[in-house]
């Protein structure tokens, strides 16, 4: 319990830091006053800081934190479910699948009447789930034991396949090129409070489902056979978890595009601190993911100020190195 308090304090501190720092730096005290007054409904102090904080920085930082938390807990869940430390939305090709769904919705103008950006989101979630099903059933067909390397390899091949379809759509839907590029790069520039709310609701719902199955994930992380032996209804729980993961990845992609490796990097680091037990790992990953992505977003915003990097550039840069490190270590361990 103590570590959760520590993690949430660290998350709040990071959040405050990320709201203050930017192309215009704001004093901490003023920032906190503005946010506090907005929450309790007191009159705002004078100055330009109010719109910067409330309309730009706060929604963005909230979206970044929630996206990080959602991607991270989905990564942790997949790594447990598949007993595979390299599993993640980006390495499995689920994120690519989700962005294909989003792009199809944009290019063909698929919308759900009355609900803004629901079309992209629904298609992103559906494609994320379909991608997971395709990748996992292919992996099982090719290699019944579903070894780490097979799944990753199929994920990579699938991502390449999806990229080619994306390129095809871009060629034909040139009107939407700019919007489409956004999905493939990953950016939370211009995130709104509405986005944050959608992220929060899906995190509460689907993150809650994942947290509920912490014990089952422990059993899966030992092995699927062991899970069945101790009495876990493996098929049902696997399906529920895959749906929850697809929904989270789909929502994240529809809000911020594909942000790679977050679900790989944070659970790995968190596991080094709290150990592999999902009862501690999953909640800690939520906070760890939020902190990691907020810091990555901060770097993306200020590194080449005033030019802003896509956030995916930062996470993939860190993630690629870590991926190699984990891969190297797991190979060495087997020798």
């Amino acid at each position: 319990m103590g570590e959760l308090v520590l993690f949430s304090l660290a998350t709040l501190a990071t959040m405050a830091l990320c709201i203050c720092i930017g192309s215009v730096s704001l004093p901490l005290k003023e920032t906190l006053t503005v946010i506090w007054n907005a929450i309790v409904g007191l009159p705002m102090p004078e100055g330009i800081s109010v719109p910067i904080i409330l309309s730009v920085r706060l929604p963005r930082v909230l979206c970044v934190a929630l996206t990080g938390a959602a991607l991270s807990i989905s990564g942790a869940a997949m790594q447990g479910l598949l007993k595979n430390p390299l599993a993640d939305g980006s390495t499995l090709g689920v994120s690519s699948g989700a962005s294909l769904g989003a792009v199809i919705a944009i290019a063909f103008g698929i919308t759900i009447p009355g609900v803004p950006f629901a079309g992209t989101m629904v298609l992103a979630i559906a494609f994320a789930f379909l991608s997971l099903l395709i990748i996992l059933s292919l992996a099982q067909k090719i290699d019944y034991s579903m070894s780490t390397n097979t799944i990753i390899l199929i994920g990579v091949i699938y991502s390449m396949f999806v990229s080619s379809i994306l390129a095809l759509i871009v060629t034909f839907a040139s009107d939407h090129v700019k919007q489409i590029t956004f999905w493939t790069m990953g950016s939370l520039l211009g995130a709104s409070m509405q986005n944050a709310l959608v992220l929060l609701v899906s995190l509460l719902l689907f993150g809650g489902v994942i947290l509920r199955y912490a014990r089952e994930l422990n059993a899966f992380a030992i092995s699927e056979d062991n899970a069945r032996n101790v009495g876990v209804p493996v098929k049902r729980i696997k399906l529920v978890l895959l749906i929850a993961v697809s929904a989270l990845v789909g929502v994240c992609v529809s809000v911020g595009g594909t942000i790679g490796f977050v679900g790989l990097v944070t659970p790995h680091m968190v596991r080094m601190i709290v150990g592999p037990n999902h009862r501690r790992l999953l909640p800690a990953s939520l906070f760890g993911g939020a902190i990691f992505l907020m810091l990555a977003d901060l770097v993306a915003r200020i590194l080449l100020n005033p030019i802003e990097l896509p956030i995916g550039v930062v996470t993939s840069f860190v993630g690629a190195f870590l991926f190699i490190a984990i891969f190297y270590r797991s190979r060495r361990a087997r020798l």
């Binding site: 430390p85 030992i222 101790v230």
Partner: protein, 258 residues
């Protein structure tokens, strides 16, 4: 009452028949040894019983069709120990053993029922792992890891144990340890064991009953001594098994007489 009934069990992969119409039943106190040459379908039978592979025929647990039971109910009746375990994450020994109690308290917050901790402690003690409880499983030897999963089974406390070559990768010391532990376990009323064993001497000295398989079919079944009669065993293995065993033993006897 019979704890486990297997009736007309067949397993086919496409046109290939792995197990063909095998039936047996298991009463309390019995230790059934499934023996036979490689590829005879021994492990496949265990896989089918534990619902790990599709089959035709019926598997009854205490008279009830296993396909109608919930996963937890199956786990409370049948426990499975496989031959080896590739661990991916560094769980503690205690955490692995505690998962054996899953079938009794599946909720997130009902994590520790009253009986859970004493059962886990007892299982660790029986397998000599008490001092390893907080150790990382990635640092264990093969024998210690196999004992960890045996302790998980003891915590799970099913009425029937299914063992798939439980000591295949273990040296003699651990082989004896694991078999003695199971022999002790099955003495409690209401329990029985089915195991696939390669080592015919081990099978013969620990088993009460035998099932000899040859190309997926029952070649002999019944009391262990009868199943090991030369006429059955020699034809299944296509060699003079007793002669080979005597030759192995003779080396040790020469050693003694020197």
């Amino acid at each position: 009452m019979s704890l486990l009934d297997v009736q007309h069990l067949s397993v086919r992969y496409g046109a290939l028949t792995i197990v063909n119409d095998v039936s047996f039943s298991l009463s309390e106190g019995e230790w059934l040894m499934i023996v036979g040459p490689n590829g005879a379908g021994k492990s496949t039978i265990l896989n089918a019983i534990s619902q790990g592979t599709p089959y035709t025929g019926e598997v009854l647990v205490q008279g009830r069709d296993i396909k109608r039971l919930r996963a937890r109910e199956i786990a409370r009746s049948i426990g499975v120990l496989s031959q080896s375990h590739a661990m991916g994450y560094g769980f503690t020994v205690g955490a692995v053993v505690r998962l054996g109690r899953y079938a009794y308290s599946p909720g997130l917050f009902s994590g520790s029922g009253e009986e859970d901790e004493p059962m886990v402690a007892r299982a660790l003690e029986l397998t000599g792992l008490t001092r390893f409880a907080d150790q990382n499983v990635l640092t264990l030897s093969g024998g210690e890891l196999q004992r960890t999963f045996l302790a998980q089974l003891f915590a799970q406390n099913p009425s029937v144990l299914l063992l798939d070559e439980p000591t295949n990768h273990l040296d003699l010391v651990y082989q004896k340890q694991v078999f003695d532990l199971i022999a002790e376990w099955v003495k409690t009323p209401g329990r029985a064991v089915v195991s696939v064993v390669h080592d015919l001497s081990l099978a013969r000295s620990y088993g009460t009953h035998g099932l000899l398989l040859d190309s997926g079919q029952t070649a002999a079944a019944g009391e262990i001594g009868a199943v090991f009669a030369p006429e059955y065993i020699n034809s299944a293995y296509a060699m003079d098994v007793p002669a080979w065993m005597r030759r192995m033993l003779a080396q040790w006897q020469e050693e003694e007489t020197k």
